[in-house]
Amino acid sequence: MAFDSTYTRELPLVDSRSSFAEIDDTVLAPTERKPSKKWFVAFLMANTALLIGAICVGYTLYYGIGMWGNNNPVGWGFDIINFVFWIGIGHAGTLISAILFLFRQKWRTAIARFAEAMTIFAVMTAGIFPILHTGRPWLAGYLLPYPNQNALWVNFTSPLLWDVFAVSTYLTISFVFWGIGLIPDIALMRARAVSGIKKSIYAILSLGWKGSNRDWQNYERVYLILAGLSTPLVLSVHTIVSFDFAVSVIPGWHTTIFPPYFVAGAIFSGFGMVSTCLIILRKVYDMENIITLNHIEKMNKILLATGTMVGYAYGMEFFIAWYSGNPFESFVFINRAFGPYAWAYWIMIACNVGFPQLFWFKKIRRNIGITFVLVLLVNVGMWFERFVIIVTSLHRDFLPASWGMYIPTMYDLGILLGSFGLFFTLLLLFVKVMPSVSLAEIKAVVPGAQPTHHHHSEEH
């Protein structure tokens, strides 16, 4: 909670005493008017990137994954790097909406909706990669265990299969959580809609919401239950992603700190992406009094905390690699820091551990320009973290005879670009058709909205 300098009065979560109508107008404006030129330019750019990605995927499907830079010994390349990167991004949404909800962090209300949407799109984007990675995506149906004539079963002891379960469960629950949260807002849009088609679409999506006492009661209960369900899911998804690496016996991959380290990293990268998008969104749609500087500052604090946790994990890995006395372990880490991919390693360290340390200073936390640069660097750093983990652990195998280098092809780069294209296309469509801020929730934290005794609200 944020306080004034006497620590007796809580700072309001929404700037200025905006009326509910004003908030409605601000948040719903993008959905009710024709998109601006800027939006079309952004959409065009995202679509172009998506198209390039689609072409590269087409080539991959036609010719096979030989189009990629994956080789022996580096059998996992951009495919898995991008998968882990996007799954990581997909962590902030549910963390903000579920875990911060359980922690009663009311400031989450302004950013939760957008972060949840981002989560869903990021997980969808991520899902593409392991399916392409299988090499024969048309057989991906076999990843689901079902009794079949050939008695073909999946390998239940493989963490890659656990991924299938974890990610699909996470996507489902996140989607339901997001959808439930949208109902009251969609009902409001239904009420405001002018055109008949719009009205009937919103009427269907709002599931007959009347805003009655009973509606709200059920809504709150479902929301709490879903928050409770989502919380272990958030942690489990990246835990299982970390298992993909850590259950192996590859030095650099097999280390016990991987699960919490990956979760911290995922939250870090997720917040990085949320912050990146929100800084633009609040500016473009004049939401600066709803998504305030205080929100940016709080997210920056979370970035600092999680970035430092990731730093702790880097340090522990390095120390234990030496402490273990295992020459292969220490080789991998020395090779990471000083080998041919040292540049990637130092980009990772600088962006994830180094630069976020600037957030120790309040001035920087509250400076939008610097924050924007730093969160962009977080995105870069977290992509490189996965690059470092995957490529540097593999490229120098146990025997020097089987050493190699990994160089991505233009198809790898094209698909990476395409993944950003897909993500931003979906995001731009989302801000066009849905309220980016949860109106029902934000109204509850507007000063004076709390149904408490008068003296009570003064003291808080």
């Binding site: 944020a2 300098s5 919490p260």
Partner: protein
């Protein structure tokens, strides 16, 4: 402000002194009959008290760090528990004189290349420097946190809250580093060949569970006997119970992560540690830990109604403290004995540690306010409702 300021009843402090005294006798007797067993038992006690001391300090810092209000009415409980930290300076001395009995790395077999390679870290001098570093860091922060907090009782100066917030920010990274060091040095290096990167996090998780349990127990006890402001309500205890529940899941998560990765990769250097804990009776302790520390408390603490049922919550707090003792026993004792031992020697833990906590707490509570009356966030904390 309706703050109660009556001394803790004599019975409690007498109980504390009695437990500490008997516990101390057992510890001494244990050392005299079997020095090595005494040393391991004492390490067990020392690590438990470290848990409570630094856990109390960490929770104090956490409140400042995250700007919580609901916990202000019982922040003093955490501060008083952190009062164990100055005693660690004395408590650590017997360990330093029995290091030879504890640590295999002090006298490795000739030709043990791995231990020879670890010499730059695992050697007497550097070890002592690290031990001193940790205790000094904890002590410095304990001193400043509590001094500012105490000063605020009379001055009511909000600037002191600001100072403590700044301190908490600096303390956070130092705490993680020092706590990891303590865990690795005192416990992980008992098996000097074995290593696990998550070890520090594991100890952290247990520490917080244990300290939260003690804070819950003491707070309920204070509430029942009218020491706390009557406005401290079930909503406050619900929050404590939820945190206890949550951190216990975190502990299980960390424990599971470590176990499943070691089990799955099946590398002999790593599995050896679990193999030790899976033979000659230790398997029952391991399974017991799983159920006693996680499964049963998880099921009991899950319903909301339990977290506001102070009687059950009180029992569960004691339960969780015992679970942390069992956890530390499981971490430390397999190095001493290939099968689990529990005799009169181990009663030292059960008597001395709670006794000392009671003594420290009552001494502090009789000298200082149990409620931080000058804290500007106190009013908001007392008004806290779900």
């Amino acid at each position: 402000m309706d703050t109660v300021n009556k001394p803790i009843s004599d019975k409690v402090s007498k109980l504390g002194y009695a437990l500490t005294g008997i516990g101390l006798l057992i510890i001494v007797a244990s050392f005299l009959t079997n020095k090595q067993r005494g040393a391991f038992d004492y390490l067990w006690i020392y690590m438990f008290l470290t848990s409570v001391g630094i856990g109390g300090l960490a929770l104090t810092a956490l409140e400042y760090l995250v700007g919580a209000t609901w916990s202000v009415p019982f922040r003093r409980v955490c501060e008083f528990l952190a009062g164990i930290i100055p005693l660690l300076i004395i408590l650590v001395v017997p360990l330093i004189f029995t290091m030879g009995d504890l640590f295999h790395w002090l006298h490795p077999e000739p030709g043990d290349e791995i231990l020879a390679a670890k010499k730059p870290y695992l050697n007497m001098n550097f070890f002592l420097i690290r031990v001193a570093f940790c205790i000094v860091v904890w002590f410095i922060f304990y001193f400043f946190f509590t001094r500012n907090s105490k000063k605020q009782d009379t001055t009511k100066e909000p600037g002191l809250t600001r100072t403590n917030i700044k301190l908490s920010v600096v303390f956070a990274p130092l705490f993680f580093i020092s706590m990891t060091m303590a865990a690795i040095d005192w416990m992980m290096s008992l098996e000097p060949h074995w290593y696990s990167t998550i070890y520090g996090v594991y100890y952290f998780a247990g520490t917080i569970v244990c300290t939260l349990a003690i804070v819950t127990f003491i707070s309920i006890h204070l509430k029942e006997n009218g020491y706390l402001n009557p406005r401290v309500s079930n909503d406050h205890f619900y929050s404590l119970g939820t945190l206890l529940f949550g951190f216990n899941i975190f502990w299980a998560y960390i424990a599971f992560s470590q176990f499943v990765l070691v089990w799955y990769a099946d590398i002999p250097e790593e599995t050896v540690w679990y193999m030790q804990r899976w033979h000659h009776g230790w398997q029952y302790v391991s399974l017991g830990l799983l159920f006693f520390h996680f499964v049963i408390p998880f099921l009991i603490l899950l319903p909301r109604s339990i977290k506001v049922n102070l009687k059950v919550l009180k029992v569960m707090s004691v339960w969780m403290v015992l679970a942390h003792m069992l956890d530390l026993y499981w971490l430390i004792m397999p190095t001493y004995s290939s099968s689990p031992v529990f005799g009169w020697q181990e009663l030292g833990m059960l008597l001395f540690a709670p006794g000392l906590i009671i003594v420290v707490f009552t001494m502090k509570a009789n000298k200082e306010n149990i409620t931080p009356v000058g804290d500007p966030k106190l009013e908001a904390g007392l008004n806290f409702t779900l």
